[in-house]
């Protein structure tokens, strides 16, 4: 059997996951010494790189049939299949590329962990779980992988368990994850039908009628809660920042993508042909998610929580693409569906790159200063120059600005939106322009948010002693961050190659592919037709470089070279203290006033002492999380009230208990009797 044959590739990938599953055992022993942890992280990096390579070959190989391998482990009646089809291969490339670089970062960063034995064994298990979800070709192994991923990441969230905040985050995460897994279980159960063929192949063949809408709903809840769709996002800004930063990078940059994969697999592959109205709930939720996510992020002053909220926004953007793809596919507009779907998957790729990069940067900052609160940072561009450059690249990329990669996927999404007047139905036609406006708004607000994030953390003057005494992070971390920054730029100026490699995926999901892009002049991407729209990231980048070089040369040649360093001018205010700088709170204040008074019911309370009184004047801002108040708080109250009632049953006499048991038995017998 030759190496490039599909079956062999599936076996390679499966054995890669096997290695990852074995690593935790070694991790328990290795974590006792620093070189041991390094070795485990290095092994993870190597295995992930290998898995990414295998998946890439699978994705680009012209072989039409990819045989899954059968594994002799699993349920007694169901058979376990592992393998890579184009959809899982694309996600496997994305996930393992990011995971490999994050593991490289962890070689350096992981050495700072206080209790490595709480992190090192679970880390490979987490990656193995994610890969198992992707490799699974049957519902059983999919759910096993999903639960492994959830539980391993839960353990990692709890690794710094001494803080009450982290324990609460882990609890909320565990509850949400169990709920999500339950809905996925129900979705697969419905799809498999009465015959109960749990392999994807069997589900595709059977396609029980009428279950599609329920599966869509369950997928939105199950995969959506893992991905962070509003209103199921509540755990995400709690749990992602609580984990160590390399795990945060994996959870935010990578695990949310596995959730997107779960949604795509269920809705595009297994649930059968979509109806047009499926797109309506998806688009609505996606639009709300994109806008609310970025507004939450803007109000946040904790760097890692800000990034976590931003993941919510980006998941919204991805689901906008997926919703459009559903609408187009249902109406038979296959070329448009391919464009929208490719835009969504491109954004999945982009987000995995820049979100991992930004979390790694925030980890470096946290390590150097011990601070996550931006109000205590500042001026780090002088003390951590390499981290600053990489973080800046990530900020520009995530703000969807050219020439970086975030812009390309948003541009493609906009192009898909502009095709939607072709839709025959009224509802999406009215909805899509509003979604377009939401997307444009969230992109502009994202730029504001990342001006805040970079400006408050890296620019200005240090706002605390910790920020003043910061030092650059280690070599491994620097190399990992620069590698991701470079990938962000490359994907931005050479988008044609990415789009071309997604051809097989769109073919599988929506039944069409975009025209080949990478052979076009100037490597431009032309989604539909040259006269309609085109973008050459390379040409724009070259023009920008040439223009900047020309300007710099002209200034150098003709302008004065004299340069004097002096105290800041600041309109003549002398020697101001760093406390007079704009803070993250003051930066966001105008935006809070304009948007926050409705969304967060933001109120400002000013305590102003009387003239002559030497008491301190105070400004307190009150923000309400409306989603939490409206959805979660009542549920929590209900659960508590029920628990309170049930509590009484703990203190009954033995006679009462026997009566209860008897009553339960009789009730059950009656039910069984009437069921027949």
């Amino acid at each position: 059997m030759s190496l490039s044959s599909p079956c062999c590739l599936s076996q390679l990938a499966a054995s890669g996951v096997g290695v990852l599953l074995a690593l935790p055992v070694f991790g328990i022993f290795a974590a006792r010494r620093a070189p041991g942890s390094r070795l485990i992280y290095a092994a993870c990096a190597a295995v992930c790189a290998g898995l990414a390579g295998v998946a890439l070959i699978t994705l680009l190989a012209p072989a039409a049939r990819l045989e899954p391998v059968e594994i002799p482990i699993g349920l007694p009646l169901a058979r376990t299949f592992l393998g890579l089809d184009p959809l899982s291969a694309a996600f496997a490339v994305i996930i393992n590329l990011a995971a490999s670089i994050v593991s490289g970062y962890a070689i350096g960063y992981g050495a700072h962990a206080r209790e490595p034995q709480r992190i090192v064994p679970f880390y490979p298990a987490f990656i193995a779980g994610m890969n198992l979800v992707l490799l699974a070709q049957d519902a059983f192994s999919f759910l096993v992988g999903w639960e492994l991923m959830s539980l391993a990441s839960w353990a990692l969230v709890l690794s710094e368990h001494r803080s009450a905040e982290n324990r609460r985050a882990a609890l909320v995460y565990l509850i949400m994850a169990s709920g999500g897994a339950l809905t996925l279980l129900l979705a697969f159960g419905l799809l498999a039908g009465a015959q109960g063929g749990y392999s994807f192949e069997a589900i595709r063949r059977v396609s029980a009628p009428g279950v599609g809408p329920i599966v869509l709903l369950l997928a939105l809840v199950g995969a959506g809660s893992k991905a962070g769709l509003v209103p199921l996002h509540a755990w995400l800004p709690l749990a992602h920042p609580a984990a160590p930063s390399h795990v945060s990078a994996l959870m935010s940059g990578v695990m949310t993508k596995v959730a997107v994969y779960g949604f795509v697999r269920l809705v595009f592959d297994l649930a059968g042909p979509p109806a047009w109205w499926w797109s309506v709930p998806v688009l609505l939720i996606a639009g709300i998610t994109a806008l609310l996510g970025v507004l939450y992020a803007l109000m946040e002053h904790d760097l890692k929580r800000l990034l976590a909220y931003h993941t919510v926004e980006n998941i919204g953007i991805i689901f906008i693409g997926l919703g459009l793809a559903l609408a187009f596919e249902a109406s038979g507009l296959r070329a448009a569906a391919a464009l929208a779907f490719a835009a969504a998957i491109f954004h999945v790729f982009n987000h995995s790159l820049f979100k991992s990069l930004l979390f790694m940067g925030s980890g470096a900052v946290l390590n150097a200063t011990g601070e996550r609160d931006m109000e205590h940072l500042g001026g780090l561009i002088h003390r951590m120059p390499v981290t600053a450059v990489a973080f800046l690249a990530g900020c520009i990329a995530i703000s969807a600005l050219p020439p970086f990669n975030g812009f390309v996927s948003e541009w493609l999404t906009f192009q898909a939106i502009l095709l939607s007047p072709q839709l025959p139905q009224w509802v999406p036609r009215l909805l899509v322009p509003a979604i377009g406006a939401t997307l444009a708004c969230s992109a502009a607000l994202a730029a504001a948010c990342f001006v805040k994030a970079f400006g408050m953390t890296f620019l200005g003057r240090p706002r605390s002693k910790a920020a003043l005494g910061a030092a650059e992070t280690d070599r491994w971390s620097q190399i990992a961050m620069l590698a991701l920054a470079l990938l962000c730029l490359l994907a931005g100026i050479l988008p044609g190659f990415v789009l071309d490699s997604l051809g097989a995926v769109t073919q599988m999901a929506v039944g069409a592919r975009l025209a080949p892009q990478s052979a076009l002049a100037w490597l431009r991407i032309v989604p539909i037709d040259l006269h309609r729209s085109a973008y050459s990231g390379l040409l724009v980048f070259v023009m920008m470089v040439l223009a900047a070089a020309t300007t710099a040369f002209a200034v150098r040649r003709f302008a004065s070279h004299a340069l004097r360093r002096s105290p800041p001018w600041d309109c003549g205010f002398p020697d101001a203290s760093p406390a007079t700088q704009y803070t993250a709170g003051s930066f966001a204040q105008p935006i809070r006033r304009v948007f926050g008074s409705v969304v967060f019911r933001a109120r400002e309370h000013v305590t102003m002492p009387k003239p002559g009184d030497t008491a301190v004047a105070r400004l307190r801002v009150e923000l309400r999380d409306t989603v939490w108040d409206a959805l979660y708080a009542p549920i929590i109250r209900l659960v508590e009230a029920t628990a309170e009632r049930l509590n009484r049953m703990q203190f009954l006499t033995i006679r009462n208990y026997l009566t209860l048991v008897f009553a339960a038995l009789v009730t059950l017998l009656i039910i069984v009797g009437t069921w027949r």
């Binding site: 502009a444 309609r532 920008m544 360093r565």
Partner: protein
């Protein structure tokens, strides 16, 4: 793409750069005349730039490399964006960039400018950056919605195609088009720091936005930033001219005569638009900062309304 196209693209790149200070000079002159002042010569901006680049640059002690690099990056990005808007001829660097890219390039320049404002760590820099990003969070989507309206009309986001469509028989007086024009004008006023949103000729006012961000700049750095601001104004006026008054613009591959006509037509359009802009500016008072989001919100709603009307009206066709 032939060498000819490249030549035109190069000529246009040089033209926008050369004309931009003249346009600012012209607006200042018209404004002075409307206020019954003599006003400086229209060539004054060129002299100002020359003066600035000969001066010593004073940089704050704690400024980082970003502070010194930002002016060049801002200028380069704005210049590239301006060079991609057809001025006297269409069919430039075909397929390099459409109008969404131009909007996004301006976004990149704004992002860097706001960061430069925060770099030194003064309260004025922060106030400017914060307000600029607030305005942008409404102005950019408003601009994109106006762009969507135009693109839906022409079935293209390429400016050359939109311009050609507007010249053709398909375009007429249309409510969506009018809404897009109003939205685009409001955005142009907001983004170029003109009255009533901001005052380009003020210092030390709590309402200043653009000036607050560049307060720490001097010498050659300030010159480059001023030039970028002039190019940006030219860009917006060229964009409106290119889309709403496409007459006289030379098409790709036209003869030398057509290009000459194109240049003259372009100059006339720019002068007329500059005149209208200044008349509007002198007739209105500066707004309070928190009124500006409402002003820009109008643009966003108009743009959205125009787009939705188009989405709906496509049914009947």
């Amino acid at each position: 793409m032939s060498y000819y196209d490249w030549l035109i693209q190069l000529a246009q790149t040089a033209l926008v750069l050369g004309l931009a200070p003249l346009l600012s000079g012209l607006t200042r002159k018209i404004r002075a005349r409307l206020l019954r002042r003599q006003g400086p010569s229209v060539l004054q901006p060129y002299r100002d730039l020359l003066k600035l680049i000969r001066k010593e640059a004073v940089v704050a002690e704690n400024a980082s490399w970003l502070f010194r690099a930002a002016p060049y990056l801002i200028f380069a990005t704005t210049w590239v964006a301006a060079a991609l808007v057809p001025t006297f001829a269409t069919g430039l660097a075909p397929g390099a960039a459409d109008i969404i890219v131009i909007v996004a390039l301006l976004g990149t320049a704004r992002f860097l400018l706001a960061l430069a404002g925060l770099d030194v760590g003064t309260s004025f820099g922060g106030i400017g950056a914060s307000r600029e990003m607030l305005f942008a969070s409404l102005a950019e989507p408003a601009m994109l919605m106006a762009v969507f309206t135009l693109s839906l009309f022409a079935g293209s986001t390429q400016l050359s195609s939109i311009s050609a469509y507007m010249l053709g028989p398909g375009a007429g007086v249309n409510i969506s088009l009018a809404l897009a024009l109003v939205a685009l004008i409001i955005v142009s006023i907001g983004e170029n720091a003109r009255i009533p949103v901001d005052n380009p000729a003020t210092h030390l006012e709590l309402t200043m936005v653009h000036e607050a961000m560049i307060l720490e700049y001097s010498g050659r750095h300030l010159a480059v930033i001023e030039a970028a601001a002039a190019v940006k104004l030219l860009l917006y006026l060229s964009l409106i001219a290119c889309v709403f008054t496409p007459w006289g613009t030379a098409v790709a591959g036209a003869g030398v005569l057509a290009y000459a006509v194109g240049v003259i037509a372009y100059a006339i359009k720019l002068a007329a638009l500059a005149f209208l802009l200044v008349v509007f500016e002198t007739a209105i008072a500066k707004m309070r900062v928190f009124r500006v989001p409402e002003f820009l919100g109008i643009a966003l709603m108009l743009g959205l309304l125009g787009t939705i009307l188009l989405f709906v009206s496509r049914v009947s066709r």
